[in-house]
Amino acid sequence: MEGKRENDDIPQGGDTSRSLEDSRGSDTSRKDEGGSSDLSRRGFLGGTGAALVVAGAPKLGSSEPLSGGAAEQEVQAVPRTAIRVTVNGTEHRVDVEDRWTLNEFLRDQLELTGSKIGCNRGECGACTVLVDGEPMFSCSTLAVWADGRDIQTVEGLERDGAVSPLQQAFMDFNAPQCGFCTSGQLMTASALLVNNPNPTSDEVREGLVGNLCRCSNYNAIVEAVLATAGTSGSGGAQ
């Protein structure tokens, strides 16, 4: 942990117009900043995502309309891209705003609110979902990047109305205290158990290092994962 100090996006003295937001900035505002290198995280992702889409994403003919706000007609039109994405086994063909993070798409549009936003900047792991089986921070992944991918969230861990062995172990071992990090821990651990069905405790801790728990219930989380190791279906991930 040493050496991880960062002097990030705190406004400097004299600049009176900015908030402490770490996710500020639409395309318009970025243009206003001209050559500033102080690009916001979302602005950066948005720019990259749009470029990727232009370069190669297939445009789909039919898509589900999705709401972008309560009074969309009056606000400036926002670039959208059609994607096809499978979420917990269900395929969606949708137009997503290019600036939406995968987390916003899942929580705000599909109302899958199990994945959480703890930091919205890739520090805490509460937003972790599986993209093609790999744990990803959904706060730092754009929805358009999910085109053609298979997404699994905590809502998809149950099978036929039964919790997965890993979820059962989380219940038995009191792995959630406040529960806010739990979805992320579950998703990372599910993927870990698929790749390594019998991990050591050190391997579990290394695997879960990107998932913070401020209740610091780390001991119980590791115990729950180890208790699941080797059981059929591992963590329940697809």
Binding site: N7, E21, V75, C215
Partner: protein, 727 residues
């Protein structure tokens, strides 16, 4: 209190009861592992707007003018509010020492805090807020607000803030006002310190400092406000729905019944959320202006700088010791950095765990232009215990005693003047010494391992209040023999909801599966003292016992209800311990490995022995201690909030910056409970949640001394500081 049980000072061993004392998964565990648990941001209301807060980029500045015209003109913006439009007092943000629901203190304080203040007194203080149809537009609108600031001189260091000529943050100066609006330090004198120092054979003096620690709960603060006529419905992450309702009603000029506070799940408590917060008021005002539900989401950085954390301290200690190792006098001069508002006491605990009664304490709660300090799990304790128990550990070596023997010689014990409901501190220390195998791990000569990986051991002990007091519960039974328990808890993580159900099942003599719990909604639940100050189990839990006793009496007299009839019992007991101290006790023993080339500290073994009365649900209780101990390790080795002294800007906000613990930083914590029943609280249960965090910094620092032979006097004990000490 139950007259059938008499209090005793000696601890008595006990076993499990029918339901209480046996491992039970939490009754909402399923919701928590399936994503079904609904936290504030998971609530969706039709037509909901999104809100963002603009914050001060200056540590101290007067706002000459705010121009919101461009923000208001942005399509999609529905409301913009500032201190010019809404001069609302946020009374629980700044009170002179009282509790969060201490109306008397709020009435008289000269240091009122406003929802939006002018002047602004720290980087991160709210100055305006916007509600818009989506969060992008709200964020864009913030950047269109133009503010003309007049920058003012600022001060970051608490000792500097008290020097003559320091920039005044308040007209009365930078020493915080006490509950009578007087700029006086807290503390006081007991016994005869002068005589105690005169009787000492040696007097030792030293200086210790501790750093600011953000509570850093995983759920960033949010508030979702909706008005139905003159009634406000407020979803907000609070540790105390009743106090949150009362505080907000007071500041909004409403009666309590005009606000419904709903908090079903919340992502971590850790302190100072048993009441209102300014973002509740902002969401309520934006919702009123926009005539729509408003969800205010704080970003992680908003949350980090715009809420609170444990106060940092400077502690100058003097300790007198007699030839035989008896402590004869203790003097503490402390400085607690509170930020610009005295949200909480700024107290420094720890000295009371010693038998020595000749004590002088002078503690200055100091205003600075840093972010606001407040309560974090055992608010005054880890920082105080770190200093006094480092000091005492150091003295033990200097008088050539084993630190455990020195501790056992000087711990507080029952006397004619000081009576406890039960006492087990020496037992905790001795049990810990045995379980840890102190003799084999402790080095009589500090730093004597050859290295490069050295080992050594240290310990610390504590006594922490576990009071009794008023709270309420309602129990209802219907003809199907389903028992419904109404309690105003939210379950911030320790399992309060389950604990309340366990107590009801035990007292009613029914299986846990027959008990339903209604919680987290002020329109449905009776008053609850709130989940802070270690009160829920002991106070609300005791109310559950009393309500169950009443219901059993009713059933005995009238029989079980038939048809649509129900029987209802309610209780609001206000028990007392008749002058006896009700405390929990504990001792932590730590072995560390120090890499003297890299300065890295690894925790090799951590044994925590606690007496918290009867343990109602063993696994969650153990996890409370384990999690708290790990938070203590974070304070010991990692966490800080550094400020740039040149511009008053915080530099290490956020999880990476503050270096909160990850899985890889977390050693196994071995927990042992000594169980007793002192006759108070529900079945003798006492507090668990706060106690575990108190000893980590002291025990780790003492272990590091034993390992490397250098006394580390400043938290956090970083690698750089270790290497500097060894250089």
């Amino acid at each position: 209190m139950s007259s059938s049980r008499t209090a005793q000072q000696a601890s008595q061993q006990i076993g499990p009861m029918d339901t209480v004392g046996r491992d039970v998964p939490r009754i909402d565990a399923y919701e928590r592992v399936t994503g079904r648990a609904t936290y504030t941001r998971d609530v969706r209301l039709p037509g909901m707007l999104y809100a963002r807060v603009l914050r001060s980029p200056h540590p101290h500045a007067r706002i000459r003018s705010i121009d919101v015209s461009k923000a208001e003109a942005l399509p999609g913006v529905r409301a913009v509010i500032t201190h010019e439009t809404h001069q609302l007092i946020y009374s629980s943000g700044s009170i002179a020492g009282g509790r969060q629901y201490n109306d008397a203190a709020k009435d008289i304080t000269k240091h009122l805090r406003y929802m939006f203040d002018n002047p602004v007194r720290f980087v991160g203080q709210p100055v305006a807020a916007v509600a818009a149809v989506d969060r992008y537009i709200a964020e864009d609108a913030l950047q269109l607000i133009e503010i003309d600031y007049e920058e003012l001189p600022f001060v970051i260091d608490p000792e500097e803030a008290l020097q003559p000529g320091a920039p005044p943050i308040w007209p009365e100066g930078n020493l915080a006002l006490d509950i009578e609006n007087q700029p006086r330090p807290s503390g006081g004198t007991s016994g005869d310190p002068e005589a105690g120092f005169a009787a000492a054979d040696q007097v030792f003096e030293d200086r210790y400092t501790t750093a600011f620690v953000q509570d850093g709960q995983m759920e960033p603060r949010s508030a979702l406000a909706q008005w139905e006529g003159e009634k406000l419905i407020l979803y907000t992450p609070t540790q105390g729905i009743s106090n949150c309702r009362h505080d907000n009603a007071r500041d909004l000029g409403l009666d309590d019944h005009q606000i419904q506070v709903i908090c079903k799940y919340m992502g971590g408590g850790f302190g100072d959320k048993n009441g209102s917060y300014y973002f509740d008021l902002i969401a309520a005002m934006l919702s009123k202006e926009a005539e729509a539900p408003v969800l205010l989401e704080l970003t992680r950085k908003d949350d980090w700088l715009g809420t609170h954390g444990r106060w940092h301290t400077v502690q100058n200690l003097r300790v007198g010791v007699a030839q035989d190792g008896t402590v004869t006098a203790i003097a503490l001069e402390g400085f607690s950095g509170m930020g610009p508002y005295l949200r909480r006491s700024g107290g420094i605990a720890g000295i009371d765990a010693y038998a020595c009664r000749n004590v002088e304490r002078v503690i200055y709660p100091v205003h600075t232009n840093r972010m606001v300090s407040g309560n974090f799990r055992a608010p005054s304790d880890p920082q105080g215990y770190f200093a006094i128990q480092s000091m005492m550990d150091d003295i033990a070596y200097k008088v050539d005693m084993d630190p455990v023997d020195f501790a056992l010689k000087n711990v507080i014990r029952p006397t004619d003047e000081i009576q406890f409901t039960n006492y087990s501190l020496d037992e905790c220390i001795m049990r810990g010494r045995e379980l840890f195998d102190w003799e084999s791990r402790w080095r009589p000569v500090p730093g004597s391992d050859p290295g490069p990986i050295k080992r050594g051991a240290g310990m610390a002990f504590m006594a922490f209040r576990s009071g009794v007091g008023p709270s309420s519960a309602i129990l209802r039974v219907n003809a199907d023999e389903r028992y419904t328990l109404f309690v105003g808890v939210t379950d911030v993580g320790p399992g309060a909801k389950t604990t309340m159900a366990l107590i009801a099942a035990e007292e009613l003599g029914v299986p846990l599966s027959q008990v339903d719990v209604v919680w987290g909604d002020t329109d449905l639940c009776p008053y609850s003292v709130g989940e802070s100050g270690s009160r829920t189990t002991t106070m609300t839990g005791y109310a559950v016992v009393q309500a169950a006793l009443d219901l059993k009496r009713q059933i005995a007299e009238r029989g079980m209800p038939r048809g649509d009839d129900v029987l209802i019992a309610s209780a609001t007991p206000n028990p007392s311990t008749e002058g006896k101290r009700r405390m929990v006790f504990g001792a932590h023993f730590v072995e560390v490995e120090a890499d003297v080339q890299l300065g890295h500290i690894r925790i090799a073994k951590y044994v925590a022995v606690h007496e918290s009365g009867r343990i109602l649900n063993p696994r969650p209780a153990k996890d409370q201690i384990r999690g708290a101990a790990l938070q203590g390790l974070g304070q010991a080795l990692h966490e800080d909030l550094l400020y740039d002294p040149r511009n008053g800007h915080p530099l290490t906000a956020g999880y990476y910056g503050a270096r909160h613990l990850t899985h890889l930083d977390a050693p196994e914590i071995e927990v042992t409970f000594i169980e007793t029943d002192d006759g108070y609280g529900p079945y003798g249960a006492k507090t668990v949640g706060e106690a575990g965090i108190i000893l980590g910094p002291a025990a780790v620092a003492n272990a590091i001394f034993n390992t490397i032979g250098h006394r580390m006097k400043e938290l956090p004990i970083t690698r750089a500081k270790i290497l500097e000490a060894l250089a």
